[in-house]
Subunit: 602 residues, 2 copies
Amino acid sequence: MSSKAVASLQAEVNRLRHELQTLKVEGESTVAGETMFVGQYLVERLVQLGVTKMFGVPGDFNLGFLDFVEDHPKIDWVGDCNELNAAYAADGYARVNEGKIGVVTTTFGVGELSAMNGIAGAFSEHVPVLHLVGVPSTSQQKEKPMLHHTLGDGRYDAYYKASQQFTIAQAVLNNKDTAPAEIDRVLTECVVMARPVYLMLPTDIAYERIPARRLKTPLNIEPPANDEEVEQFVLDEIVKLVEEAQNDVIILVDACAIRHGVKKEVEELYKRTGFPVYSAPMGKTAVSESYERYGGIYVGSVSNPVIKEKVESAKLILSVGALKSDFNTGNFTYHIPTQRTIELHSDHTRVQFAGFPGIGMKRLLPKLTSRLQPFKEDAVQFDVPKFQLPVPQEDNNVISHAWLWPRVGQFFKSKDIIVAETGTSSFGVLDIPLPPDSIFVSQILWGSIGWTVGATLGAAFGGLDRGLGRTILFVGDGSIQLTVQELSVMLRWGLKPIIFVLNNSGYTIERYLHGMTRKYNDISNWKWTKLLDTLGGEEGKTCKSYTVRTKQELSDLLDDATFARADVIQLVELVMPKEDAPRALKVQAELSGKTNRYVAEF
Amino acid sequence: MSSKAVASLQAEVNRLRHELQTLKVEGESTVAGETMFVGQYLVERLVQLGVTKMFGVPGDFNLGFLDFVEDHPKIDWVGDCNELNAAYAADGYARVNEGKIGVVTTTFGVGELSAMNGIAGAFSEHVPVLHLVGVPSTSQQKEKPMLHHTLGDGRYDAYYKASQQFTIAQAVLNNKDTAPAEIDRVLTECVVMARPVYLMLPTDIAYERIPARRLKTPLNIEPPANDEEVEQFVLDEIVKLVEEAQNDVIILVDACAIRHGVKKEVEELYKRTGFPVYSAPMGKTAVSESYERYGGIYVGSVSNPVIKEKVESAKLILSVGALKSDFNTGNFTYHIPTQRTIELHSDHTRVQFAGFPGIGMKRLLPKLTSRLQPFKEDAVQFDVPKFQLPVPQEDNNVISHAWLWPRVGQFFKSKDIIVAETGTSSFGVLDIPLPPDSIFVSQILWGSIGWTVGATLGAAFGGLDRGLGRTILFVGDGSIQLTVQELSVMLRWGLKPIIFVLNNSGYTIERYLHGMTRKYNDISNWKWTKLLDTLGGEEGKTCKSYTVRTKQELSDLLDDATFARADVIQLVELVMPKEDAPRALKVQAELSGKTNRYVAEF
């Protein structure tokens, strides 16, 4: 039975248990129950899940529901400039607010389809986002009149069908009696599977009254239990392999360790066992990068050679939450035989060639840690290279990538949220150690340029929720053009990110993939330092902007205490050479370019 | 048999005929044929169709193909800021370039999903747009590695499946031998059905060599013939009804008269018969609004009362290209019995309650005109109200909607392209007569706010192709925030639209639908007159911006000859009261609000 089938069964068991529990609560009270609107019920469930911000854009069909949101004291409506940015923001919010979900509310057709790329990206990278769509009333859905926002041929289900491709669960809340159960089911799946879900809320249903008592039964969002017998077997197998490897074991932490909430369990594992620990790019900051037995980022052939050697020569790799995409693995160049690999995932485990569906790491890890703890004394004899990147001496004043990333590495502080756009930024940041308790945010698998601007908005809000520090964004001049208007929303809310815009005249990652000097990789040069003032700020008062062209200028800025304090939103234009890129990007792009099989120009 | 089934059959007949024809040409030559790349073949077909601009955003998987576009002397690559704006631009281009298609090129997953709302809007409003997607190579599609831009679970067909909801034909060009035929099939459907289509072009296939001879056989893009016998019957029926109506016949022109290219045929009809002619909102400028027997805009109950009376009391309505959406019909308030209605469409005809699938208006209209011409003498005795809207006298200096629209009506000139955003603009422009040979561009059925900024880019290019005049955009402050970055592309290309931004502090159409004073209908106030300068322009040199707050200021500007000459891109901020709206919008919103069934606040 596949992992997916097991997960489905477990979800159904949980759903039935939850429904029984709500009935018990309802049965116990003989007092005529308090009622509430369906729309309010939905908002209360979100508040119960700890959501403080709802992203989206108002539109016909969702306006009535927005009243509930605006009026609720514990959740704020963040009006975004457009729906794609709103979905990006919900994604960024959920990534930083580990364990919580992001919510984006749009309107039927025009709004929800605009958001689709944001939802698909969250699906791909295991980010729990609720896509809530305000839709026409139940009677309109039966009669299917040619309303605005429809396709003109009566297909009211077209958007639902499209969304099914990119969400793990969906519901059309067409019946007030089943609506609460459907809301609970879909929200539960969102959290437990850490994937986007989709709800259609008709205008009339939002205002139907339902019993409120269900809210007393919290959603059951714990991951399902592992089958005891199988789990025991798996543990025995793993311990056997560790023994055979004579403790030459390395832990490799990847995306799903963060996305499926096992950072603490993993920390227990590596601290109590003493096994050296490395991270894939998408797992960066799952482990504190200043931990003394943390060795840095492993990316297959693109890795720092010392790291590559250490990881690929280890006798056993304990991989946690792997998501082996091309950019995450140096274009699939892991030279690690399957015989030497154990993979822990949220819903299955692999031990060498054997697969164990339904054995999830959340429950497995603490037991594994207990069993492996005795090995610590031997494990610590394996040394771990120090993960560092000194600022290189360059005999010019140009802001090169080779210099920039280690230099900003010196600027980062504990609890910073560091957002890096797909391209030179996401590759450049990889090689620098980030401070303890900092969070690295990037979209390395989905790779939609422009995502980080919306994600920064959401991440900054998430950081406020968690009492984190500064939010710092690195985005290319090409990428920011896709989604620039969201700066306006940051200003409106008094958020204070530092936005570094890499002005190197074009889509640099594209140049490296193909078309280095092609015109289609050029962009318009904007007045970067006027953006904040134009989009709702007051330069010098509610925002500050800078241009730096030399190493010295940037260094001076980074060392400026006021700048570093980040008590106002700031944008820094970094003027950089057109054809420079971080080492890792150059290598990756060359590998990807070969597989794209663009034949040499005719 | 349904219209759809008939159309499918006709399409297949045409396709087979075309394929036979291409083989004939290929067979005639014994010289070893010239070859070309599949990507080049595709570009040549587009050039044959008269396309001069391709919109889109470069991304991995489409870069190799873009080389062909950049190198072709007859087609320009317009790099847009994001894919949704690019799709909007392709739509606007196709609307103005009647008979041609728009083309938007994106990349696998991240690009194409971002464009989806633009494609769906084109589908809904019958606009022929090719959505071309660069995708991974055929071998990657077989092996399904976890590439960037994928969902992580191997579903390489997810985006295709989603796109099927919003396109009339699709093809995955996975085989070089069938690729040209598939390209021809899909492009033909795009033109003949006037709907979006979808092509996936793998990186390797783009560079496969194929015989070039097929290009000698042009695509067959004529609408199919009508069945002679049925057509004759239909003509007889219509003539009979016209006689019974004693020539009290009104022609009502709507969206599809434009979208399916029968403006000339309709002009022949109304001029040779003398029947009074009116237009639905979506048909505005299908008929010259200065034609003496043109009576104006009919929108059901929302109509000017004189027009409503004339249309609804006529004994027979000859409706051409109806698309009866809510905003296009005063919320479905046509008080015209079916017994008095004849509807001509691109692929079927309705005569009272009878439906005639497969009888299309392109072929029918000229024959109908011949048969009805004898009635002219009697028809002209039915008088037609003059369509006009004088500028009202108001005893204040506020820029009200009631004053604004007739006043800008005086500013418009022949061959202007007037683009009106969904909201106060699209409703406000309705009641003013536009000059002869002008084109009204709006998205009244799909209604996606922000669409007009991208559409203006495309429309301006289309205007250049056709030797038209100025492009003038009216967009709300809320709407422009969704898609503002496309101003940058207009600047980059030296286009010269006049952009009126209605600064009335919020999403006014939403306020009227629901939540007049709600915070979620507020927006950030941007420095509108700094936008062009910030996004790549030089204020005073390559762009000009103005703020007008009073009737006098606006009038002076409109009367300024330099302003009117529009030889540089210009943005005008109109400061207007928050809660004012055109009459038509207020009425429509009230009707829509009732059907939304937002129960009164609790």
